[in-house]
Symmetry: C2
Subunit: 511 residues, 2 copies
């Protein structure tokens, strides 16, 4: 008995159609959640890249109920982002692995996949096309698209120029089968947490029952838009190096290094090349045409770039963190705590990718007892698979809360952690949790420790005030009586101590 | 300021090259682990599909140490599987999304991706080609391949016919950069657990220090090889239905249903079609040519297939479970417990995919205190991200161990859970954990409950025996003395009770 195996090729669209679990579309309720999430994230990215304070509307309507208990939902989404150049619309919305996310820049989307998975899911469950209207550079175009899943190509059903207009942005409309009822709690939590880290956005959501949920912006101050950056030499591999060489016009290694890499100026290039020349046993690396490197030399050069310790760390100016002020504002708005503190760590790097950790801690107010962890990555709230995430490890395994006199089961504490990077090391295409890269773990741990100390001081102070005000209340009750009897005993007039009793020890402490 | 976005297309190989974290290749240590794992799984699949008791050798050699602390490893792997038809070799080893895993059949591989990720990782870190020798249908061929990542195509450096031979199987050889030291513990654990569920395989591993680790088969009895199956009507979506219709030669709906679906015979087809005719308000659904269905009818038909409750559950004869006997044998061999019990649940289904849950519980022996969970899916051990897995949820959150008089922190208990299915709902491409589909969760819960009751009875009995033998020891000590004084008091000779004391109450109990 020999092979009964049949070999075949499938397209990328087909791959994700067959394996939608890995992209977060496992069932009708997850599908609604993931759809809303991917569309909102794409819209926020499109607004921020253009510097427009986001105004986003997402609306769900029930078209019909199916016999299996799900609904056919119509989703309409409108944003005021940059819009999409009309020649790219069919591919950008109807071809997997085509998009604008394949550059080194901080963005919510990293895989260029989520939006398309949503339209694809809509198509395979309802067989209806995707309706796109986009305003870009003064012109509005309209499209009706379908995806040819087996060939991974868009099918254009309608394509027309609508009018000239200043409006920029995207309007999307499509149907999908889903279960809103089971998804609604997660969706509302997702919107709430998104609002927490994008306090400059107006987000409006209308649910299938017609309820309007609106998150208003509390500021028009936008974070600086993220910029595209060159690769850092510590993060390049042989394949990446080969590609850089093949697209570079440089005729010698020094020019190649200074024009193709982040953080390599002429001086660094010189010292790196003399170091590498020794290791590679080459006399003239500086003048060498990079296109003339042999396979073996390419491998050695990549290894040298990896391990040379004279390069500066990646520059984080291409990142767009939230900033401690905005983070605090967002938390105050949503949780109304008694105490909130936020910090940003210094930029750091892993495998050549710059990143920044920001964190906040809050106490009391609307926070329920116990520690609640909010996780964010490039301003996306992460809600699923919490216990596999690096932040969970730090907050629930590495931090000893009792040491800080905080009871992790009863004290109302919220911890928010935000990681901004040109490349978030997600472990799933569904962007649910972040790998525990040691560099990232260390930064989170330091941030949480610093904040926990601050919270600990706040709680200690509050306890002290509580104790003193209790003691003062005892005095207030018995002091007048004691004074009276003391005065009577020695036959002197009763002194007026009312002024004394008005001065609270708490005020004393604070002045 | 308008868009600065640049749109581009990338190939599937490029996508996974850029996002290797999601396929389990995040760092040099994970890369070695994932490489060995993917190669071993492909080899086991190739042996089982052909019905050959596996003989697999994997060897690692250190070629050199890099300045950054990693090693350049050479990996050699040989199996006695079915081999690969030579015309498919270049694509099967050098093109992402090409393979033999894209059918409905139980296999370890599901994404047709892992092996290629390993060669791709080897290529991008060492820039060396992949060497393949395969014996298939009496002929041995040799190849030297490289992957053109940007175009997702194999580059054939060498292709030759070696000789005629009866040998079948695959020999692979390639280099990769890795960190074996950090990966070794997980690799050994992975091999040990694999041996536990494939007691019919000889697996030999030679580590970079030349240590030989060998797992011998304890049986030549192989599980029945899994078979390819037709889709079940409950699992089909509109896109799937459209494809089935386009490849079917059937001229009427009845023939189409009976030839394209699993579990639809003529009688079921008739009753389904009369039911669906009513819902779809069509008079003549039975005689209709499926190719003439409109878009709307296609959608309605898919929904009817989904929700009709007259179809039998998927037939699990296409599955290849381990079987409770083999599972017990594997556990006895590796853990040497005092007590072990295994069961297989009845076949069940989720979204049209058949699955079987098998489970085992063991106590004492080499098991350390506390509950140790072993997770398997289609005979793969799952080692990472345990706490996101459905089995973890059952064992550590849903089962109340104290109710069964088992101390989850101190009793030495091992639980093994195996899920066999034509489609395991993994949540990552790296195949680390399984989604908590309610149907699967329920089956696991029932299996673990049944086993826990059995273990509980074993422990109770052991406790009873312990108690009685303790009581008996007390008797043994004081009874002769009491008998002696009693006899003296009443002035009678001391009776001989030595016979009585030789009969242990435990033997009494058991006879």
């Amino acid at each position: 008995m020999l092979s009964k195996e049949s070999f075949r090729e499938i397209s990328p669209a087909d791959f994700f159609y067959r394996n939608r679990d890995i992209a977060g579309f496992s069932n009708p309720s997850r599908a609604v959640y993931s759809t809303i999430r991917e569309i909102l994230e794409n819209s926020l990215d499109a607004c921020e890249i253009g510097g427009f304070p986001p105004d986003i509307l997402i609306k769900l309507e029930t078209l019909e109920y199916t016999p299996s208990g799900t609904q056919i939902l119509k989703i309409t989404a409108i944003d005021n982002g940059t819009g999409v150049p009309h020649k790219y619309v069919p591919q950008a919305f109807g071809q997997v692995f085509f998009g604008s996310k394949y550059v080194l820049r901080q963005s919510r989307g990293t895989f260029g996949l989520g939006g398309k998975m949503a339209y694809l899911y809509g198509q395979i469950t309802t067989h209806t096309p995707l309706h796109v209207i986009t305003g870009y550079h003064g012109k509005v175009h309209e499209y009706l698209l379908r995806i040819d899943i087996q060939r991974n190509q868009p099918i254009i059903l309608k394509e027309s120029f609508v009018k000239r207009s200043k409006w920029h942005g995207v309007l999307l409309e499509f149907n999908l089968e889903g279960n809103y009822r089971l998804a609604s709690a997660k969706i509302l939590e997702y919107l709430k947490e998104t609002a927490m880290v994008t306090p400059y956005a107006n987000i409006t959501f209308i649910d299938p029952d017609g309820r309007l949920i609106r998150f208003y912006r509390v500021t028009r101050e936008m974070p600086t838009p993220p910029r595209e950056t060159l690769p850092h030499p510590h993060g390049v591999d042989v394949e990446g190096l080969r590609r850089l060489i093949s697209t570079s016009n440089a005729k010698d290694m020094k020019t190649f290094l200074t024009t193709s890499f982040h953080r390599i100026g002429p001086a660094t290039a010189n010292s790196f090349l003399s170091w590498a020349s020794k290791i590679m046993k080459k006399h003239n690396l500086k003048k060498l045409n990079p296109k003339k490197l042999t396979h073996e030399e390419l491998v050695m050069l990549a290894r040298c770039l990896h391990s040379y310790d004279g390069f500066l760390l990646p520059d984080a100016s291409c990142l767009s963190p939230i900033g401690p002020q905005l983070l605090k504002k967002g938390i105050q708005k949503e949780l109304k705590p008694e105490f909130v503190e936020a910090i940003a760590r210094k930029p750091s790097a892993y495998s050549g990718h710059p990143f920044i950790v920001e964190a906040a801690i809050a106490y009391g107010g609307n926070i329920p007892p116990g520690i609640k962890l909010y996780r964010f990555a490039n301003r996306i709230p992460l809600l699923y698979d919490e216990s596999s995430d690096v932040s969970w490890k730090v907050v629930f395994q590495l931090i000893n809360w009792k040491y800080y006199k905080i009871d992790p089961n009863n004290d109302p504490v919220a911890v928010a952690i935000h990681i901004a990077s040109t490349k978030i090391p997600y472990k799933t295409v569904g962007k649910e949790f972040i790998a525990d890269r040691p560099e990232i773990e260390r930064e989170i741990l330091n941030a949480v420790r610093e904040l926990t100390r601050k919270l600990s001081r706040f709680i200690a102070k509050r306890e002290k005030i509580k104790y003193q005000s209790k003691r003062f209340n005892v005095f207030k009750k018995y002091l007048p009586v004691m004074v009276k009897y003391a005065a009577l005993t020695v036959n002197r007039p009763i002194p007026d101590i009312s002024k004394l009793l008005k001065r609270s020890p708490i005020n004393d402490e604070e002045t």
